[in-house]
Symmetry: C2
Subunit: 299 residues, 2 copies
């Protein structure tokens, strides 16, 4: 029998990563009800929203109101792409930010019109300033395994990028299989290496279930000693495809598997289903994760 950590932490990314590409406009009050229900379910670390230009991400135009309307509970993160975002977030009273970059050049060029090196150069002073101000900084690393434009990413490139972030003082690395292509062997290998290289930093694994490998990858990451996992309630988001093609690893599926293996997350599954039921009517696609589908059929 493989040994597993006794507990694992879920970083709930549904309200931010899950809703940012949603086609329907979700009202602020509906987002807040969702966030509060997620908190009630025990999700004490959460990406609430994103301080980005509403021109680029209209779903996140209410970032300020989301922060103002959310009661303090655990670690509440907001995504901030640049200095303006960080300034707005801090003005809103935020004390934990997430910054992001891809490992591969093409991904960054398509997304933010910068090479990886340029993107990192821009992030460095922002991170150093935030750390001076006592802000918790999470670095979200996209295309850590595969890039949609370049294919396989060299694990050493991902590790080198993480090293820079660690040297600049970030508190957490969130290492993402952005397009859901990593397999469990790759997950085990990269996360084993990251744990070894960075024993003193928080490391979260971020998987997508596009090819149904999210839980297998999470299991492999657990075996590598990882005990933090990004997940999205209802599998919201990351879904450029048809209804039914899930995107982010679903919080309920991960929590269920972890609990069945004796890995406690502190999340109450029934309350989590209630939270998902609150947001489902406001999004375009029917939510069809494993556990939530069972819940709906039980009712």
């Amino acid at each position: 029998m493989f040994s597993l950590p006794k507990t694992a932490t879920i970083i709930e990314v549904g309200p931010r990563d899950g809703l940012q590409n949603e086609a329907k406009t979700v009202k602020t009050e509906d987002k807040l009800a969702f966030i509060h229900a997620l908190q009630t379910a025990g999700l004490s670390e959460m990406e609430l929203t994103s301080f980005v230009s509403p021109k680029w991400v209209p779903q996140m135009a209410d970032a300020r109101d989301i922060v103002a309307g959310t009661k303090k509970f655990g670690r509440q993160l907001v995504l901030t792409p640049n200095e303006r975002g960080i300034t707005s977030a801090l003005e809103a009273g935020v004390d934990s930010i997430a910054i992001f970059v891809g490992v591969s050049n093409s991904f960054n060029e398509k997304n933010i019109n910068k090479s990886t090196a340029q993107a990192m150069e821009n992030l460095r002073p922002l991170i150093e300033k935030a750390k001076q101000d006592g802000i918790f900084v999470r670095a979200c690393i996209s295309t850590a395994f595969y890039c949609p434009f370049e294919g396989a990413v060299n694990p050493q490139d991902t590790i080198d990028l993480c090293r820079q972030f660690v040297d600049w003082g970030v508190d957490e690395l969130s290492v993402a299989d952005t397009i859901g292509m990593a397999n469990p062997q790759e997950s085990h290998e990269l996360f084993s290496r990251l744990k070894k290289q960075f024993p003193d930093i928080l490391i979260a694994a971020h998987f997508h279930d596009t090819r149904r490998m999210a839980l297998a990858n999470a299991y492999a990451a657990l075996l590598a000693g990882i005990d933090r996992f990004d997940a999205s309630a209802g599998g919201l988001g990351g879904c450029p495809f048809a209804p039914g093609a899930t995107g982010n690893a679903a919080t309920e599926d991960l929590v269920h598997m972890f609990h069945r293996m004796g890995v406690d997350t502190g999340v109450d599954l029934d309350k989590l289903f209630e939270a998902i039921s609150l947001i489902e009517p406001h999004v375009s696609n029917s939510l069809q994760t494993g556990m939530y589908t069972l819940y709906k059929n039980r009712k």
Copy 2:
């Protein structure tokens, strides 16, 4: 890096396990087209149909025509619940049969109105006779992990049942997580013990994706040295729930993950998608597995 087998065999169960509970009546010619397309994709071991009373399983009423209409290719199995079934199957020219039983009493009582011990007593002479006739015998073991009526099954009970089958001369054990509740730690533990106890017999792992753990369980079984996996093209079958709630582990999702990890299956994924496209119009639910959904969106 964990070491994995170089190759794995998929036992395709879609035409039998996948279609047996299908609400729509699927025409014999449509089943045959599906079977031939699956063969063309390289699936050389397959459960073709079931020689059961059409009163109980109307979808399998054409078992004789299915066998007659299928060209010989690899190992072609038919399910046979009893002596009459075996006789009919042999008359139809079959040389490989699958018999089945659950580990838990309640499951057998609900299904076949017999205790596990009574069911085994009935199977013993059938197996011994089939082996005398040179027939390949596969024993399908349901509720090997969990029973829908009794809950957790003692792994030792599953092992003891397997031991009886092995003593009676079966060629293969197909060990099933019938209701999709096993977790990867349980999969790894049970299959490690089975491999150790029965090193000289074929052992197949049969998972359901109800709670999205099928691929994680398959990965754990691979780590335990298992290299045979039941799977159903399109995730057909085992689906007592709503559209989108997949049942059997999907052949395409397993094959894809295995290939990505360097475990060859001999299956051509593109041809497999074509096979699934042939059957999809004839079944009730839209097929929404990971890989098949990507295929449909690519078109």
